[in-house]
Amino acid sequence: MSSATLTVSKIRNGTVIDHIPAGRSLAVLKVLGITGYEGLRIAILMNVESKKLGRKDIVKIEDRVVDEREASVISLIAPEATINIVRDFNVVEKRNLRLPEIIKGLLKCPNPLCVTNNDPEALSEFVKVSEKPLRLRCVYCDTYLNEADVLRQVVGQ
């Protein structure tokens, strides 16, 4: 991040999500159910320089932790993100997100006649076919989900 142009103070306690693909920070907040009206102190940095990604977004949220389920949904739209847990201004835990090999119950199969869309007990399940570009396959009916489908489902765009 270029400190010459943007200065954001450190947070005392909370979560920093770094290495979000440029422009996706608002989608990440949406996954976390954060609208801005919760009263949380939040810093959003968009399109800042990154050695790894060229450009990236960063989100800092005070007094909020990210649980496992939220982390796996974020990994679908920001597979290279890192989650830093901050306590008393120090990073106490650093988690590198990884897109899981199997994604259960989070996404909907686009095939209306797939058993997962027609039986209350049949939970959706996708296997990762490729990460770049993102491609998932329904284990029940073999229908593909691509990156645009996933993004649309996760953030409703």
């Binding site: 095939n111 797939c114 058993v115 039986d119 007990e121 229908t143």
Partner: protein, 299 residues
């Protein structure tokens, strides 16, 4: 519980064992290999033909058969989840043969029950026992399956037998598969991307028919069309008639999983290359072999 949900559940060796076992059954008196066993036939989507084939296979092996199809299936499924119905059948039976209109239903059932599930067709997805019948017919006629040129003609998009056949052929070494269909009925990309042998998509059977060893004709799956107009546009877009058959190799064969509608001219039936009735006759012995494979615990 492992069963036969997808043709991928079988290796080449598994398939060859089934073919050899079936070969022995063709002229032999059936033995009561499944006596004391109960086979459930859960046909949530009605199909008299496949139901009778499995029922006959089970009874010849001395098994008891319980099951439902057609109207009965609708009342069984009413208000109850698929998982609950499968759990009920699990209590009564040693093996569950299932047909369902939803894609992936058999796989889901196999994850619910500890009894083996045989997929007798799940939506537009797979129908592995039909593929065994198809490949067995090829083997009976040529003596082998490798190095042949296949031509799959018709509704390659909604016909589950096509998915299972294309996948089943991966265990062998076909020379080439021609996928012959009007554009709206082209095979699914998901299936094509998996293939490990050469294939070519063509629109007109006349272009390639002279090269084909095995012509596999499918019915247009009217019931799977989401859009009635889409069906109207393609419903009579291909037909195997005497003129097409004339251009085929002398020792080629024509297969069809039956029932047919109008995609094969009835005058073709008398041609010696028409093998679809012979193919249908292998339904019971192949299914006997499958039922024994999954219904008898290995020592």
């Amino acid at each position: 519980m492992p069963g036969l949900v997808s043709i991928y559940d079988l290796t080449r060796q598994d398939m060859e064992e089934i073919f050899e076992d079936t070969e022995k059954r063709l002229n032999a008196q059936p033995r009561k290999e499944l006596s004391g066993k109960i086979v459930s036939l859960a046909f949530f989507e009605p199909s008299t033909r496949t139901y009778l084939s499995f029922e006959t296979a089970a009874k010849k092996l001395g098994a008891e058969v319980i099951g439902f199809t057609g109207e009965e299936a609708i009342s069984v499924a009413k208000g109850e989840s698929l998982a609950d119905t499968v759990r009920m059948l699990e209590n009564y039976s040693d093996i569950i043969v299932m047909r369902h209109r939803f894609d992936g239903a058999a796989k889901f059932a196999s994850r619910v029950t500890s009894k083996p599930v045989i997929n007798a067709g799940d939506g537009k997805h797979e129908h592995p026992t039909q593929t065994l019948i198809d490949l067995f017919t090829v083997r009976r006629n040529f003596g082998f399956i490798d190095n042949l040129t296949f031509g799959l003609l018709g509704d390659l998009k909604y016909a589950r037998v096509v998915n299972s056949l294309l996948r089943g052929l991966k265990a062998f070494r076909p020379k080439l598969a021609y996928l012959i269909s009007p554009e709206p009925l082209a095979a699914r990309r998901e299936i094509l991307e998996e293939l490990n042998y050469p294939y070519r998509e063509v629109r007109e059977p006349h272009e390639v028919i002279g090269e084909v060893d095995v012509l596999y004709v499918t019915r247009i799956q009217k019931e799977r069309f989401v859009d009635e107009q889409e069906y109207e546009r393609v419903k009579e877009s291909y037909k195997v008639d005497l003129k097409l058959v004339e251009q085929m190799k002398k020792d080629a064969i024509i297969l069809h999983a039956l029932p047919r509608v109008q995609e094969i001219d009835r005058r073709v039936d008398k041609d010696k290359r028409a093998k679809y009735f012979e193919q249908a006759s292998y339904g019971v012995p192949i299914r006997m072999s499958v039922l024994v494979k999954y219904g008898v615990e290995k020592a």
